[in-house]
Amino acid sequence: AAGHRKQRKKHQHKANCRRHALYVDFSDVGWNEWIVAPPGYHAFYCHGECPFPLADHLNSTNHAIVQTLVNSVNSNIPRACCVPTELSPISLLYLDEYEKVILKNYQDMVVEGCGCR
């Protein structure tokens, strides 16, 4: 029984909203021809369920808690969504369309945290 409980818990945790690894390789989309550095970056993504009742670690808002509660009694109302709650910038060194070299800071490129919103 303990084993089953552990397995169920593990399965549940896996399905819950959390941050997942996602490395964006610029060469995959042919952008390495004009982006000098970095060659790619860890962007991450958010995925998973926002189940009732929402646990503290799911970083939810009051609205998400209420929406999840309503969903538990009326399935026409969707569950809260698993989305990025904190993002950070990255800098890119690249050549623009005039072959000028630019170092620019781009906002909200890396997912730092996920939550149910």
Binding site: S88, S91, L93, E97, V101, I102, L103, Q107
Partner: protein, 286 residues
């Protein structure tokens, strides 16, 4: 599609998904591509040629930023405190090489002047230029004899004295008007000046912020810069020629053509497009 930011494979996959008509798919993809271009501040997909040169200084700035959180990482040797301060307020750093077809080099006894024009039209109107530096590479004058001084160890190891006392003066002017007569000199205003030791090989950085911010904000017309090298008591003949050629302001004054792309003058602008943090913003998480 091939000229856009969305790769052909992605375009095909989306079009073949059958969710929308081919025309709708194309419109949707074009709209999405516009958003991508807008995000990067581009008008079309960059397609740099093989001759495109990435200045080492820009790579150093990038490295300095990407290693920002690592306190064991030192500032690159080529970077001055001025640049570090400027970068801390900017979120966009651009580099420009001058238009060689528009350069005007003049050399009279004891004085070399070079007029530069940098095309800054690629800077978007919404970008506020907070600072700009003109970087000029200076080669050690060969044959300069070393003479230890009581300064820091770095200075003492590189010190020298030539017939001119081992120093040259570099003045950087903003050109703001054509000469009054065809043989006359352009109207200029001094922006920065420095007395440099000719026994050291290094980049010299000059603050040209007032001129560049005026040019990019539309306050004044961009007529370029004039860089003046004064060589006090310059020797005649071959030795004199060598002394005059040590500041790399023109291809014709640069002996090694292969190294010219990395030694030519560089204008670096520090700006902010009013979106997001500075390039060298110190993030605790990083």
């Amino acid at each position: 599609g091939a000229a856009g930011l969305i790769p052909e494979v992605g375009r095909r996959k989306y079009s073949e998904s059958g969710k929308q008509s081919p025309e709708q798919s194309e419109n949707f993809l074009n709209e999405f591509e516009l958003r991508l271009l807008n995000m990067f501040g581009l008008k079309r997909r960059p397609n740099p040629s093989r001759q495109a040169v990435v200045p080492q200084y820009m790579v150093d700035l990038y490295r300095m930023h990407s290693l920002n959180g690592d306190h064991s990482t030192k500032r690159p040797r080529s970077m001055g405190r001025h640049a570090e301060r400027a970068a801390s307020k900017a979120n966009t750093i651009r580099s420009f090489h001058h238009e060689e077809s528009m350069e005007a080099l003049a050399s009279l006894k004891g004085r070399t002047t070079q007029q530069f024009f940098f095309n800054l039209t690629s800077i978007p109107g919404e970008e506020l230029i907070t600072s700009a530096e003109l970087r000029v590479y200076r080669d050690q004058v060969l044959g300069a004899t070393a003479a230890p001084t009581s300064n820091t160890s770095q200075n003492s190891s590189n010190s020298s004295r030539t017939s001119s006392g081992g120093f040259h003066r570099i003045n950087v002017y903003e050109v703001f008007g054509a000469p009054a007569s065809p043989s006359g000199e352009p109207l200029t205003r001094l922006l920065d000046t420095r007395l440099v030791q000719d026994s050291l090989s290094r980049w010299e950085s000059f603050d040209v912020s007032p001129a560049v911010s005026q040019w990019t904000s539309g306050g004044r017309h961009n007529h370029g810069f004039l860089v003046e090298m004064l060589h006090p008591d310059t020797l005649e003949g071959e030795e004199g020629q060598r002394q005059r050629r040590h500041v790399r302001v023109s291809r014709s004054l640069h002996g090694d053509q292969d190294s010219w792309p990395q030694a030519r003058p560089l204008l670096v602008t520090y700006g902010h497009d009013r979106q997001g943090n500075a390039v060298l913003h110190r993030d605790k998480r990083q």
